[in-house]
Symmetry: C2
Subunit: 337 residues, 2 copies
Amino acid sequence: MSRPTTIKDIARILKISVSTVSRALRDAYDVNEETRNRVLAAAAEINYKPNYNATALAKRSTHNIGVILPFITNYYFSTVITGIQEVAYSKGFNIILHVTNDSPERELSIVDNLSLSSFDGLLVSTCSQSDSCEHFARVIREDIPVVFFDRVPNQIRTSKVMQDDFNGAFEAVEHLVSNGYRRVAHIAGPRGLLFTEKRYEGYLAALTKHNLPVVEDYTIYSGFSQESGQADTIQLMDLPEPPDAIFAVNDRKAIGAMLTLKARGIRIGKEVGVIGFTDDPMASIISPSLSTIAEPAFEIGRKSCELLLGHIRKKSFIPEEKILPGKLIVRESTNKG
Amino acid sequence: MSRPTTIKDIARILKISVSTVSRALRDAYDVNEETRNRVLAAAAEINYKPNYNATALAKRSTHNIGVILPFITNYYFSTVITGIQEVAYSKGFNIILHVTNDSPERELSIVDNLSLSSFDGLLVSTCSQSDSCEHFARVIREDIPVVFFDRVPNQIRTSKVMQDDFNGAFEAVEHLVSNGYRRVAHIAGPRGLLFTEKRYEGYLAALTKHNLPVVEDYTIYSGFSQESGQADTIQLMDLPEPPDAIFAVNDRKAIGAMLTLKARGIRIGKEVGVIGFTDDPMASIISPSLSTIAEPAFEIGRKSCELLLGHIRKKSFIPEEKILPGKLIVRESTNKG
DNA sequence: AATATTATCGGTAACGTTCTCGCTGATTTT
DNA sequence: AAAATCAGCGAGAACGTTACCGATAATATT
């Protein structure tokens, strides 16, 4: 209805200039304490709200950060966002959310159509099949800071935040071994993703440390879904010598594994141990409950955002890497009895 | 590095005026087909990206919609957001995400601090304890359209999108009754929320239709969490005459109920039936699997966003209400025999 | 042939804010 | 008492875009 009040209204009411009002509202520099109070009072009086677009235009800085990720409908990503939101909110930044549905074309179109004027920095977790990172490189070349988390590309030199995938996997597999399992299989994520490789390496390292043979058929790369967990497990258990334990790249796949094991009448834990990665709330709901490596999702969100805001504030974009530790959660699915 | 290219650059290169360039880029009105093509070519050439802030300032319309909700770390809300995102993306709108953590103070501060210049419309699901809706009324008074979904206030006349809570609850309870359960209890949500009431009314209606007595102690209002589901169920089962079925306001509480029933050695389904609301993926993971009313979360997101964009487009804000049907999903937890 | 119409374009003022100067008048310095 | 300093303020341009209106030339109308 009534157009929003502006800085000019305040100036007119107080019979001072807009420059003074602007300074009073922000810097409080070069402005008398008394006039400043009068400005503040007048602003409150007429319910003044700053126009962020005008500010952004004049200062060449929006107060937005873009967040690009494949999904939000799972525990991990939604928790990361909550962490991001937490620090963004406290620093007065808005989050512009973009979901790619794990489609590289969509990711590309989002990044390219996104006006560079609409955010000060980018927080991204890539698609699983990102053939190229050129689009992100372009953004960085425009001097807009980008911080990657979880699904980080390795071709590009930039700030990254991730859980300790190698050690998490190592711990998971070592836990299996120390509980008496000997033929440990790994149902992995899609190839090409850095953390898929890291977790695989951790798996390998634990096997070799404990002098266990590395059976090639015991590692299957596929998707992240529960369904692919089921399919992988069928393949695994149909082997001449099936494994007696399964380390899944995430809890969804672990749950898929448990489902096929159950369907085949195989006692989980006693006959075949299962361990996941994430600590999705489902892990404690399913029975038997699922052992897993808890990821610090919330912390990853916080750290990523803090890192990004740091880059934005000091205008310098020196890449940093942060690796946050996970935590082994022992439950029933790795209890041999 | 190099400052972003602007409309002026194009004008200078082509030796035409900025007005013509602006028209060529947008309207294609009052501009020759050929010059328009030259402008488009030049824009692509120098990698021109429009500055949204300048546009927003000149047109008094950002291309952003604000989304305010209590949580995102659950299946329902994250799926709604995905639905919102889907239509927003297709129409070129950005989503600014705000999470209140179900805190009324935070909700208030978000709405009040949000510059009205930073979004064209608002999509909100309120806190459970919103004592007032004044802050939203203020936004509406500024002629910014607001659409509520799921958790909608009843004191305020505005557009609303929700699942059919009454009929969903009715169907759930009728399903219990027709499966032979007679003493049906209801562990409800917090008082004051519209859908808590609707689901309670549906529960009542089903009982009275089937001539079952309404026992006051059989309805407990409390939180939404799994823990409150556990607590409520303890209270229920300690009654002199405990219920033989529980209708929970959502799946999390239903799962809580199942946990305490299991802990007490009560056979779910056979002795006590349990049904939830939402169809969280957990419902099919837990064992016995949980019967529930599936909510059309994705559709609710889509519809809310379409409604809002409609309001924004036609500048008229005539409140509309949409009620989307749920669907009964029968699983093991309501199988008596 | 004079006039009216049309298509295409340019000039200029907004939009709300910040920023860089420069100007006053008062205070301090010498 | 003259000069230097300084606090506080204002004028005006800029940020990139759109909107309104007028100008021009070409075409159509009578």
